[in-house]
Structure formats: structure tokens, C-alpha cells
Symmetry: C2
């Protein structure tokens, strides 16, 4: 069994460990020789070039992804050549294009913030008028970690982007908190869902994840239903992450989708029987899914972002390991740049406040 | 931080996952291009050749081992060249040579079966006379998994081996069961011990490990004391496994030593906060050790041995995964040969009988 992963980032890197454990060969098409997943990189090349990707795909059983950026034309070439691509081109489109995502989720009847496609300033003015004079405007493609997203109060605020093409406008949701629901689905239709988690963003980037989401009550069942509806409806194969708003008025609304392992599921490496990375491999290989149950009452993951100093996480291990013997440390082997995700830590245990304090303390050793 | 591992077997392979997680570079000197640890292999060569090993060691921070077979002369060359070798040459000698092991453990006052160095048939006759007419005779070097071990009742039974050099004779212990105690020690002297485990051998090969050892009582404290005495006394750096007999008369006696991750500790990957493989990396890098506590009341590991069929473990995953959703599967990526260790499975949970049944059922899918 050989899995080929397009993209050499930390998500590909974190697929390496379960592949090694299960005895599955993993090969990576990486952007550069010093990519995070370099240990498994067999081709260095550009994922936008069909010939490069076809060559890479020739000696694996299934192609999957570290990111959503492979162009539809390249995906079409792969599928036309008989390559097994999971998730498939059609499903991936809903993770690549935010307008397509809204259109397809609307067809599935999934609860979402108010939204509209914006082609002219007049479209945006009318959306603003209907939504209290404020909107979240998003470029349909290429955004992540808060990029390509802008809060606007006048159509002029988005005029530069509108000149480039159509935009998505969304209701600015007054939310109590953000949540994420992950589910894995294999081609046979079998699905497995992890518990609903709470995600805490800082400057548009995931900072902390609490698993399970505290005091979720019925929301856990509702969120799972939404994620399963989307996974089945879009015929997702692999791991799907659904980012959700818990609105102040109680509504649960779909914010974004990712069709790959996702930052909101990193806790599962150390806190679930089957991690999102192992489950993604199982799902794309059409193997029966593993048990997604948590192994401890609480898990808290805290991201480590690069600071202004050039220190790497391992440089700080002597102090961090001595202070936090039970925390699990993950470093992505990437050069540190301010704001860049360079690793994460996960603590588990029976008392949420204690688990959270330990995770935060451990992450604190890597702040500049 | 770069760790170099000499030997490309499954122990080196299982060090790859924690190295990837921690962002530690791992390089392997492997015997062949298709070794179990091939993903991290940077040199293919013979670990008995000093130049090969010195070249491999030149660009890592510390050298450690997948096996005990690197000759003392090569280790001496490494240390003379300023290479950091952990465990060191002097400690390793006690894991390489069973006579040296007995001599050094005797000096530490550790409880052992009766033993003697055998140079002549007369030596063996007199040992037999003192031990009820039966002895376990071992070649000092090169034995593993029951090889190089013979039960004898007359000196003639060992004449062929004696012609090759001196032998170790040991009392044939009437034991109730076999146990193993693992401890990690870093150069600073810090130690961390996993729980005492029960090991069940079949045809001289480890078949099953129960963690912790059921009904161990005071033996757990005694075993830990023995392992710590040995680790400190021999100045072991890295993971030490002490194989023990629980004799029918109640004595706890040291059988064998291994100074590396060991089959008796594979359960720790899925059943402890810090696995033996992560702990070995921490210890040889002189980093503070992780928490060795179990994450579940019981863990049972069952080895998977190659059968007469050429099927690999992944070939059987569809049936095995469907039946045992919560069991963790490990395949070493090695060609199957009868009796060869090709993988293992680990189950965890709160009821020992249930955990054991699940682990055995999962392993059963890979029997011929």
C-alpha cells in the first residue's frame, strides 16, 4: 500500500508517523527540499504542473493532500489518467472555492450565516443594507489563517478585491465561540466522528483547541449531524473538518470546510485512540476506520508560532521537558518566522483547568 | 539535534515516529536498502567496519543503536574520535557478552541465577553436579530470541560449543513466570521507570506482554530497584530492559539485559505517556525524561510472527481493522519469513481479560 501526499507541510509530516506504524509506504510531492515532510519526500516540484503531479502519482496507489491548492485542471488530468484521488476533484472544489462551498452546502440544507455572491458594488451595498451595515467579505480562493478575509462597512472597502473578480459576502456572526467537528469518511460510506471541539483563534489563526468542547450539550449531536451530512452529501473521502460558529442566539452555523487533517484535530494524536492522521490514511486507502474515542476526559492543544528569534523548538526542550514531563511536544522542523505555525503541544488529563494550564505553560517555553 | 542509529531493524524504525514528532533529525546506518528503517536510512553499510561507522557518525550529534552487535573495536574507534556514543562502549559490553554481564551484575550485588564460566568439560561437570544435574549453557555472544542457548544434562551436550571458546553456565530456574523491567537513564543520572511487565515467551521468542504485570505486589518495587541499580551501576544511557525470572521459590532473578528499546516495551507506544522509543531519544540526547506512566489500566501487546505464506500485515488489514477498531496495529515493513517478528498489536483498556482477548484476536488475523 502506497499513499502519495501532494504538499510537504506539517500535515504531510504528521501522516508519516502513522504510515510508519502501519507499514504503509508514504511518498510526498514537496515544494522544496527543506519542507516539513522532507523525510518522506520523493519528488520536489510544483503541484500546479500536471506533468510533475502525474509523474509523482504513477507509483502510488492513492493520491491525497496536505493542502487544497492543487488546481482543478491538474486534478482533472489525474482522474482522467485513472489515478485514485481522495478526496476527489468534485468534493475538493467545495474546499477550494468558498462560493461553491456556500452553494453546495445550501443545497444540502446545512445551517450557515447569511451569504451572497458579490459581483458589483451595488450587490455589496444591498447585502450591507440587509445585514446591519456590516459584512465579512472573502475572496473565493487562496485564503487561509485569516488571509483573504475582510470586515467591510461600505462597498468601497472591497473595491480593490472586486476589481479582481467575484467575492463572497457573509453575515458577520455575533458568536459566543468557535467550534470544529471532524469526521472521516471512506469510499464505502463508513464514517467516524471525533468529539466536537472548541477552537480559540488569535489574529485569525488557531491558537488553542479544547477537546471535547466544554458544555456542548445537544450541540455535539447537532454538529456531528452537520458534518456527516456534508461528508456524505459531498462524497468526501478522508478527513473533513467543519469549522462552526456557536452564535450568541444559539444557532450553530458552518463557517469553513477543510478536506484534510486540520489544526482543530491535532489533539487527536495524543488524545484519541485513532488520530486524524491515521484515520485519513485509513480512509483514503478505503480501509475500515479506527475508533475515534478520546483516551482521556480532556485534551488541550496549543499552537506554537514562530517568534522574532531564530530559536527552534528543540533549542528550548531542556527547559520545557523538565517543567512539563507529561505534555506531548510536536515540532514541524520548519524555519521559524513570526506568526508561522512551527509546532504544537498537547496535554491530557481529568481536570480541564489543569490540562489547559499545563498545555499553555508548555507552549510558553517557545514564545520569544 | 541529530541522532544516528546503527542498525536498520524495527527498533530503529519505531524511533522514527517520535523523532518526527519532536522535530529531531534521525539518520540510520542500515544493513540493506530494504531494511525496516529504510525511510530514515542515510548510509547502507556494514556496522562492523570502522570506516563506515565513523563516516556515518560524522554528521550526527549522538550515535545510538538498534542492536548490540557493533564490535568493541569499532566502538573504541568511535569514542576515540570524539563521537558521543550512548549507551557507551563500557556499558554496552555488559549487553554484548553474557559472561561480562554476570561478572558486572555480581559486583553490583544484583540477584541472579547460579552461574559459572565454563572453560573445560570438567568445569561443566562440576556445575552440573552442584545444580541437580542440569544447566542452561549459553554462548557469551551473538545469541538472541533463544539462539545460543541450550539446556544440558551432560558436559558432552556442550562439547561442540566449548571447542569454540568459553561458555556461561546458569542454573535452570524453576520459574513461575517471566517479567521485564525497563528504565531509561540520561547522562545526568536522571532515571524514569515504566511499570513492571509480564512477558510470555513461546519457543524462546517473546509472544505477549502484559502491562503492568498482574499481581506483582512488592515485586514491582523490587524489580524497579534492580533495574535502577543496574542502570546507575553500569552507567547506562538510553533505555535498559532487564529480563527477570519470578522463581517458584519467590526469588526475583536477572535473566538478560538489553541496552536499547526492547520487545517488552512495545506496549508503551500506545499505552504510556512516553513510549520507550521517545524516551530513548530523550535519554541519548541528554534531554529531561518524559512521564512513563501508563495511559490505561491495562495494555497487552502481542507479537506478529511471519508465517509460511507471503502475505504481509497490510494485506490482512481490511478484515483485522473491521473486527478490532480500537486495537493499534504495527507492521515493520519486513518481508515475512516463518518465525520472524514482522509486527505487533497493542490493545488497552480497563479489563485485563477483555484487553488480552482483543489483542489476541487482532494478532490472529495475521496468522497463516
Amino acid at each position: 500500500m502506497r499513499v502519495g501526499v501532494i504538499g510537504g507541510g506539517q500535515l504531510a509530516r504528521m501522516m508519516v508517523s502513522p504510515a510508519v506504524a502501519l507499514g504503509i509506504e508514504i511518498r510526498v510531492l514537496a515544494e522544496s527540499a527543506d519542507s516539513s515532510a522532507r523525510l518522506a519526500a520523493t519528488v520536489i516540484g510544483d503541484y500546479r504542473e500536471a506533468e510533475t503531479v502525474l509523474g509523482f502519482a504513477a507509483d502510488v496507489d492513492v493520491v491525497t493532500f496536505d493542502h487544497e491548492h492543487v488546481p482543478q485542471e491538474v486534478l482533472a488530468r489525474l482522474e482522467a489518467s485513472g489515478v485514485t484521488v481522495r478526496p476527489g476533484r468534485d468534493a475538493l472544489e467545495a474546499a477550494q472555492d468558498k462560493i461553491r462551498m456556500r452553494e453546495r452546502l445550501a443545497a444540502l440544507g446545512v445551517p450557515m450565516p447569511g451569504w451572497a455572491v458579490i459581483r458589483t458594488e451595488a450587490d455589496l451595498e444591498s447585502f450591507l443594507a440587509e445585514h446591519g451595515g456590516v459584512a465579512v467579505v472573502k475572496t473565493p480562493r487562496g485564503g487561509y489563517d485569516g488571509k483573504g478575509v475582510r470586515v467591510v462597512r461600505a462597498s468601497a472597502d472591497a473595491a480593490d478585491w472586486l476589481a479582481e473578480g467575484e467575492l463572497l459576502a457573509e453575515e458577520l456572526v455575533d458568536f459566543r465561540r468557535e467550534l470544529a467537528q471532524q469526521v472521516a469518511r471512506r469510499p464505502s460510506g463508513e464514517m467516524a466522528a471525533w468529539p466536537l471541539v472548541e477552537t480559540i483563534q488569535r489574529d485569525g489563526v488557531c491558537a488553542e483547541v479544547l477537546a471535547p468542547a466544554p458544555d456542548a450539550g445537544d450541540l455535539a449531536v447537532e454538529a456531528r449531524g452537520i458534518a456527516e451530512t456534508i461528508a456524505a452529501g459531498l462524497e468526501v473521502t478522508g478527513v473533513l473538518a467543519v469549522e462552526l460558529f456557536q452564535a450568541a442566539d444559539g444557532r450553530l452555523l458552518v463557517n469553513e470546510l477543510a478536506m484534510r487533517p486540520h489544526n482543530s484535530g491535532h489533539w487527536s494524536i495524543d488524545g484519541a485512540v485513532t488520530s486524524q492522521f491515521e484515520q485519513h490514511l485509513r480512509a483514503v486507502l478505503d480501509l475500515p476506520l479506527g475508533d475515534p474515542s478520546p483516551t482521556a476526559p480532556w485534551a488541550v492543544m496549543v499552537n506554537v508560532l514562530g517568534g522574532p528569534e531564530a530559536a527552534t523548538m528543540p533549542d528550548r526542550y531542556p527547559a520545557a521537558f523538565a517543567a512539563e514531563r507529561g505534555v506531548k511536544f510536536h515540532s514541524y522542523g520548519k524555519a521559524s518566522r513570526p506568526g508561522r505555525k512551527v509546532g504544537h503541544v498537547t496535554a491530557t488529563g481529568t481536570d480541564l483547568a489543569d490540562v489547559r494550564a499545563r498545555a499553555r505553560a508548555a507552549a510558553g517555553f517557545f514564545e520569544a
